[in-house]
Symmetry: C2
Subunit: 368 residues, 2 copies
Amino acid sequence: MSQDNTPSTKDRGKAPRVRLKDVAALAEVSVSTVSLVLNGAPRAEALAAETRQRVLDAARELGYRPNYLARSLRGKRTHSLGVLVPEISEGYTAGVMSGIESELEAAGYTYLMVSHHSRPAKLESSIRLFEDRGVEGLLIIGAELPGPIPLPAVTVSGHRPVPGVTTVALDHRTAARLALGHLASLGHRRLAVIRGFGGNVDAEDRWRAIRGAAQELDDFELPPALTVELRSRAYGESFDAEGGYREGYEIGRRLLDAGEPFSALFAFNDISAIGALRAFLDCGLRAPEDISVVGFDDLGVTPFLNPRLTTIRQPLRDMGQAAARLLLAHLDDQKPLGERILIQPKLVVRDSTGPAPDSPSPLDRPGA
Amino acid sequence: MSQDNTPSTKDRGKAPRVRLKDVAALAEVSVSTVSLVLNGAPRAEALAAETRQRVLDAARELGYRPNYLARSLRGKRTHSLGVLVPEISEGYTAGVMSGIESELEAAGYTYLMVSHHSRPAKLESSIRLFEDRGVEGLLIIGAELPGPIPLPAVTVSGHRPVPGVTTVALDHRTAARLALGHLASLGHRRLAVIRGFGGNVDAEDRWRAIRGAAQELDDFELPPALTVELRSRAYGESFDAEGGYREGYEIGRRLLDAGEPFSALFAFNDISAIGALRAFLDCGLRAPEDISVVGFDDLGVTPFLNPRLTTIRQPLRDMGQAAARLLLAHLDDQKPLGERILIQPKLVVRDSTGPAPDSPSPLDRPGA
DNA sequence: AGCCCCTATTCAAACGTTTGAACTTGAAAT
DNA sequence: ATTTCAAGTTCAAACGTTTGAATAGGGGCT
């Protein structure tokens, strides 16, 4: 009756997409019937079995594939999420993403991804973008939240509690106790620390936990001159893959130059640990004989470094999976959001930590 | 006239979204006029300046944001792309993605991402998914293409020419010459090689180039017992971040056990190079004194390893950017696709390569 | 006074679905 | 012979845009 773009035998060009209408024509039923059947709607039960079969056959024969945009426009569901990561090419992000990806794929959701580079403005504009694109929910990694979020959201660390937002975060107290306990048991007493960059709640919590753990130990010091803060994540317009390592390296040198004796370093992440370790080696120190280093995250490389890196394992993949699952459970089953899930870290002892040297430090040289 | 969901003063709940219709009502014009003005259509020039301003003001006042789904449904443009990567948490992928991301963001495109895990079935299903989701084009990284692609596509390496698909690929001949030339000049004569996994064209090209480069050199051998193939990318259902390193490690041990003397290794990527290096160290070898190792990619860690890794740099970020730019140029300006862009690698000499030991090899022990 | 045409604006169809309400048909109940 | 009802199916509105075609209002021309 109305216009119809039948391929007219010779389908030159892009092969017009099969619509519900085409299936309906072939099956000799109405569009509604086709929609009902193809969606397995309860109402379709009422249809004659023969009719249903006819529709199914027609759809198969034509290779019908529903139009996502039309369906979403009408139905309000897009089966897509927005994922906000700090930096696409970071080990931390990669680990979490691999968990998120597998979970979303299994559930038939797609996602849009944007890096926020720890910049609040970017975070906010991305949230608006996602909203405009019709995502159903947000997965936010390592970001301080700007306030209430206009969509269901689950985060992976990075911020203090926001009502209605579920957070998957690491148990930093345990992490700190594990690392410091390990070092103390090896005889270390003066610890250098690479803190996460200020403003990052994860970093604050971690630092608080480290100080707490130090106090619980006898005769264990965190000399102020030996705690340095990363700034990496604070800017990072054009990302440089080497940035984090380089910063660790520079901090490593600065620590040695500080002239304060120390026998061990606890870094905020593996990346900076690797950089600092490199600096120590370059200055002629041996690890773990002269200095011990503990990283954080347990990235894939760590067991293959020289020396193998002792580190605190964050089950990044699990954290990503957990976050995704929680969000999906909310979207699909209305499970409420807002809890705080604590994830337990694990100490992985390898070769970069060893007994403290007998002398208070390998570095009692005042200058250089 | 028709139904209208005006917030009725007390807007409880989710704040209904502002539609064109709402703006039209406030500006006292028709919906069409609003659409025209807000899109800066040429036809809008014909409107009275006063009207245009009224519309603009109304839109601003209400905070109008267009409905993406409706617009795309009608207009056929979604400003979104599909990105297919081998493995989300791989250094190679991360490098390329960082280039793609920055380019797409600048152009106002979003993208969906799926890992194909080098599985043809996954690749095909993902392409269908993307098609269904209405993406305008595809960016495919490191995958053998299943045949013609139903959408405009640009790839980053991984396959032999397909008509209509632009490829950004590395110049493997140059890469091989750089690596082998460097090693030969250091006196190395017998080279072990970790090849990429079979079926990957990138791997084949590289291997062909390596053999070619070896022939160009005097007295330079690639003993068959010392070329091993990666299998990593061939399966990889549940991804394990350590997988690639571990495989390199195992290959490293196998090479030593082969009993064939060699003084240098050229690995398919940095990951496997790092693993193999670790194996060599574990077996009591020193690098570069006893054995030299050349990696491939130049991931961020490489300058911080111990020893620092000599490697062939692939400008991954640039490759990603180039690919994205080419695809966008096609979509926005109809620039034709189908070329093959060759990217030049660079040799980065660090500490993992050194003069060949005097003895033909450190490994003239027949057993073990 | 009638006609034409220009300017400024609106109509209404279309994009491809989903879904509440309505419509047939035939058989059972009155 | 009419009404009642259920089973099976279709109508048509709606989702929020974009855009080709149509329209109203005026002013200038003959």
